[in-house]
């Protein structure tokens, strides 16, 4: 038994306990903030320790409550889980710093302080639980924890726009949860277990039609969560209205939990290639339709939401190829995309701060007004578009190589689409750059600076200009994330190797099954 084993449940337990503590301390904002920061830092450290340990010595399996594997609940950490836990914890930590800097907690009437930190911690616990879950039902519980916290965060303050957006989001999420639960019921009826390793052992004996049915049900449920076309309609509708840090963390993590679940489904539960072609077609549609939607948008946050949908297609492409190289590229791309998409949404939050709006038709002259913000938006934008030295390019190159290796006409079609979509991604980003940053302020048709806008709304009040200024912490948090994106590009070699090893773990179910169910532990 490994010495790191007791760390496994802590990634879920620490945030949950801290959530309870912060809820009790709802009147002491400073205490709440420090607890949240401390706990998320601890989780990030634990994630890295687990990653090193797992990479060296193989998967860690924790039998919760001491009940042996097929009977009790298991928490499993393999390379993929540990990688996701570490990256997610880092992202959660930076976004938390950003939101502290934004003063989300104190001077915004739309956002009551006392429930922000607890909800954020519960969200973290849900995400971590989904990543370490070793059985389907625990995965479902992880999803529900993070979803319920996300309902609270999305409708924070209860303004009309957020309630409207929240309603769509909640109803769609509930539908996907019910589908997932029904799928679990059917899986249990067919195999008599919810333990993923045991399902994997037994599923091959089922009739082919039943396998397809269960497979499709699970993919539908996860597809809604991952925002795969045509199940992606809810995302651009609901994300942009939330506060900037909340949108950033949703965009970075929640859809990726869906992708993670799809990865597990395709590799451990149903390693057969029967639905791979369907996945590839869906990936194609997701990429193309998502980016076309992004081109139509005039609001930066909505545009980013559509690019998010579009780039989910790349990850599905990697999974759908069904080869070790494809899965490895998908894992690397997922890591890259979590960081970059979060950074871009934080950048949009900075733009909103400086310019007072995120509508590109009303922004201008930001390059002069705030060169720092310009740099912090420009670098991740290039990265998302897949410009060579950055990690986006490396991830895409991996996906393209994997497609060539598969070599079917469909794989080549996807290769072409992936390149085209990558180019098209640059178009809306370049438009944001041209209009919001490069265009002189005088050319904006009805320009209203933040100060005049506030004077219009509140002519006799004190000037609020100082409050709206950028705080050093917001810049620092975003700059930290940009540094991580650049770091991912520099350290791409070792990271890609790690992703390849994580992908290799998932090839062939025997290793996972042996780790979870194997005799002498």
């Amino acid at each position: 038994m490994s010495a790191a084993l007791p760390l496994v449940p802590l990634v879920v337990l620490l945030p949950l306990v801290a959530a309870a503590a912060t809820l009790l301390l709802s009147r002491h904002e400073h205490a709440q903030r420090w607890i949240t920061l401390g706990v998320l830092t601890a989780v990030a450290v634990i994630g890295v320790v687990l990653l090193i340990e797992v990479d060296a010595n193989g998967p860690l399996v924790m039998d919760v409550g001491g009940w042996p594997a097929p009977f009790g609940i298991v928490l499993v950490v393999d390379r993929l889980s540990a990688l996701m836990v570490s990256v997610s914890a880092a992202v959660l930590l930076s976004v938390l710093l950003f939101s502290v800097g934004q003063g989300l907690a104190d001077d915004d009437d739309d956002t009551p302080v006392s429930i922000y930190y607890p909800s954020y911690l519960v969200l973290s616990a849900g995400v971590m639980n989904a990543f370490v879950a070793g059985d389907l039902f625990n995965l479902y519980v992880g999803f529900e924890i993070l979803l319920i916290a996300s309902y609270v965060l999305l409708t924070l303050g209860g303004t009309e726009a957020r309630i409207r957006a929240g309603t769509t989001y909640i109803v769609v999420s509930l539908l996907s949860s019910v589908l997932f639960l029904a799928a679990i019921a059917m899986v249990y009826g067919a195999t008599g277990t919810v333990n993923m390793a045991q399902i994997s052992e037994r599923v091959a004996d089922l009739p082919a039609e039943l396998q397809t049915l269960l497979h499709v049900m699970l993919l539908l449920a996860f597809g809604i969560k991952a925002a795969v076309f045509p199940l992606s309609f809810w995302l651009p509708d609901s994300y942009p209205t939330a506060p900037a840090p909340v949108t950033a963390v949703f965009a970075g993590l929640l859809t990726k939990v869906g992708i993670y679940a799809i990865l597990r489904t395709e590799t451990i539960l149903f390693p057969t290639p029967e639905l791979n072609e369907a996945l590839l077609i869906v990936a194609l549609l997701t990429m193309v339709i998502g980016i076309l939607g992004a081109i139509a948008q005039a609001d930066i946050k909505r545009m980013l939401s559509f690019t998010l949908v579009s780039h989910i297609g790349y990850m599905v492409l990697g999974v759908g190829l069904g080869t070790a190289a494809g899965v490895a590229a998908a894992i690397f791309y997922t890591i890259h995309h979590i960081v970059v998409q979060t950074t871009l949404f934080l950048g949009a939050g900075l733009i909103e701060r400086v310019g007072g709006t995120t509508s590109i038709s009303r922004l201008g002259g930001l390059l002069k007004a705030s060169p720092v913000v310009a740099v912090l938006f420009f670098l991740p934008a290039l990265n998302l578009g897949g410009i060579p030295p950055f990690s986006g390019f490396i991830g895409k190159l991996g996906l393209l190589e994997a497609s060539v290796a598969v070599g079917t006409p469909l794989a080549y079609t996807l290769l072409g689409a992936a390149v085209a979509v990558s180019l098209l991604t640059l178009y809306p980003l370049a438009r944001v750059w041209n209009l919001a940053f490069w265009r002189p302020r005088e050319e904006v048709a009805d320009y209203r600076s933040v100060l005049t806008a506030e004077l219009d709304e509140n002519p006799f009040g004190d000037s609020q200009g100082g409050k709206r200024a950028l705080s050093r912490l917001m810049i620092g948090a975003t700059a930290g994330m940009v540094a991580v994106t650049v770091g991912l590009s520099i350290a791409a070699g070792p990271l890609y190797d790690l992703a390849t090893r994580a992908g290799a773990d998932l090839q062939g179910t025997s290793r996972y099954i042996e780790a979870v169910l194997g005799g002498d532990r």
Binding site: R164, I170, L181, A185, G189
Partner: protein, 188 residues
């Protein structure tokens, strides 16, 4: 596996009525639909535990006679989750009612803006001074369908003409023709 008809029929009915309610526009009905679908799924879970047996770990019984306890544990968890979510949804609907006095899901304004922007952009070049209300009022998706009654009160264009351009209101005879052509163009 044999399934009890007494469970199967209610499950089907619950799913059917749940889906029907979920597709309604009124939020209250959507919530009721979600509750029905949730309960139908719980019944599905129960069915999957196989035939009913005696209480598990009851003294002196054969293990083979036990009911399968796992699905019951799963159902219990699912019930608690549905309960929490329903409470949240009810609060949300109440808040929505307080804010908008409206029980229906509203259409996203940004979506409407994107959907109607192209027609406006296309009109931009020939949008001269002559008639200022070329951009036809975007159809409000939340509005009730237009009445077929021929004796209905004055059509909506008059309202917009008054609001958007003083000229049109002052010289109705002159602008009348242009107005109508402008509207048909804009409506496309």
């Amino acid at each position: 596996m044999t399934v009890s008809l007494a469970l199967l029929v209610p499950m089907a009915v619950l799913y059917a009525s749940g889906v029907y309610l979920l597709l309604e526009k009124s939020m209250t009905r959507v919530i009721l639909g979600i509750l029905l679908i949730g309960n139908a799924t719980n019944l599905l879970l129960l069915m999957m535990s196989g035939p009913a047996g005696v209480a598990p770990i009851a003294d002196g019984k054969e293990p083979g006679a036990f009911s399968d306890p796992v699905p019951q544990a799963l159902i219990l968890t699912a019930i608690v989750i549905t309960f929490a979510v329903s409470a949240f949804l009810l609060a949300l609907v109440y808040r929505s009612w307080r804010l908008a006095q409206e029980d229906e899901v509203q259409v996203d304004e940004e979506d409407v803006a994107v959907a109607t922007r192209d027609t406006q952009a296309a009109e931009e070049p020939d949008r001269g001074e002559e008639s200022s209300e070329v951009s036809a009022p975007a159809e409000d998706p939340n509005a009730p369908p237009p009445a077929e009654d021929p004796n209905a009160p004055p059509p909506a264009e008059d309202v917009f003409a008054d609001e958007e351009s003083g000229d049109a209101a002052e010289l109705p005879g002159v602008d009348g023709v242009e107005e109508s052509t402008g509207d048909t163009e804009g409506g496309r």
